[in-house]
Amino acid sequence: MKALRLLAVGWYYQFKMISRSPFEGIGQVLYPLFFATVAFFIFRASESPRTLLYAALGSAVMGMWSATSTTAGNAMQRERWHGTLESLVATPPHFGLVLLPITLAMATIGIYCLVATLALGRFVFGIDLTVEHPLVFALAIVAAVTSFGALGFLFAVSFVRFRAAWALGNLFEYPVWLIGGFLVPLVLLPEWVRPISWVLAPTWGMSAIREAALGGSPLPDLLLCLALGGVYVGLGLAMLERVLGAARKRGALSLS
């Protein structure tokens, strides 16, 4: 219970902080919108049966993924810049309970991207945004954000030794867009790629969101998405022990 409240409070204040940075925000929301625009044009001109709503949803989740991938890897480094990393490590809770809310907050910014993309689709391209199962749709979005945050947590822990952590995070932007089933159905990808897609929570989050919107069975995908998120957190926690121990040994907590 205490852990849950810690996660919630941590998430709240971190989200508040990130939301208050206009330039970071504008850049993060704006950039995926360009890609969404291209997608809208392409699908509008296309002959395929895939609808513009499909394109809208895919682009929206692409934006959600960008919000996480371009920032989460840098989470620890950010705390170092603020001078708060040491203060955070010096607190009693397990550091995972402190770091996870940070990446969850970063992933939540993705909701701004989602809304912006859908608005672009609705007001500029006139796409009809009716959603079959609105409640499950909303839940699917929450599940996606949570699992993206969990994957971001794994990035944050893995990249902590790299000075250019942000460059590594960016490296994961395009590939996940390509194989996450956002605008490209998995069947079109080479067979050997598909298993990689299957272990990525974004793939299932996207699928859940799409099924909820277009009418299908979103629940299995939603649960799988959350389960994978749990796996990422587990992996991240295991790595975190080693990473922090090494940092305490090397004296690297405040290296800036």
Partner: protein, 261 residues
Amino acid sequence: MTSLRIFAIGGLISYRALFYWLTFWIFVPSLVVAPVFQILLFAYIGRSAELQSDEFYVVGNAIQYAAIPALFAMSQLVAGEKFQNTLGAILVSPAPRLPLFFGRAVPVVANSVFVAAFALTAGSLILGIDIPLTSIPALALVIVVAAVSCTGLGLINAALGLRIRENAVLSNAIFGFLLIFTGANIPLSELPDWMRAVSEVIPFTHSIQAARELADGAALGSVIDLVGAELLLAGAYLSAGYLLLRFLEGQGRRHATLERS
């Protein structure tokens, strides 16, 4: 002769001095891996939407991605000088401005050419696209002209970067803008009239068209008017960038904003 030396040596030294940040771990992901993924992404989107061929997207994105070094490397160059407070020192030096600045442009152009050429080659190999060997020299020419043209735009961006704080946001916005308006991924016929008009006057549009025709086996002669158009734009953007830089430099001296970070 001095101008030539300033041009060459100044350019080379500044490149090395200011690209210290361009380490292996930044270079490889952003200039080598990312463009290939962008190509794959749009090629597959094209297949998903059943619109155009793989080649359409490979050529379009390979050239469009050359904007990244043109925008970011050039910004870093100018901003880097500002941060290291060498910009003021350079600007008060008696060296003639023109060769000085264009000397700095050359490494950026080279960077862009490399990125486009590599992306085009890699994309073609991965997706199995046949480009006739006879077209390669002409393609090289088209890529160089495109790179020069976009470097001009990069110069304007870098000049603006002297005044605004978050230059990266502007660079990303320009990159996104080019993604849409140059026909890299959207057939120009699909764009509304006003957007098509804008396409005509920005870098890359003509080069991408030319490159696509060349990749299909056309002769250089048939696309020479497109290359010429790009060349004209290159001249226009380079001049505009240079003038803007001089203007802002003058402003900076008047209002002491040069060293402001």
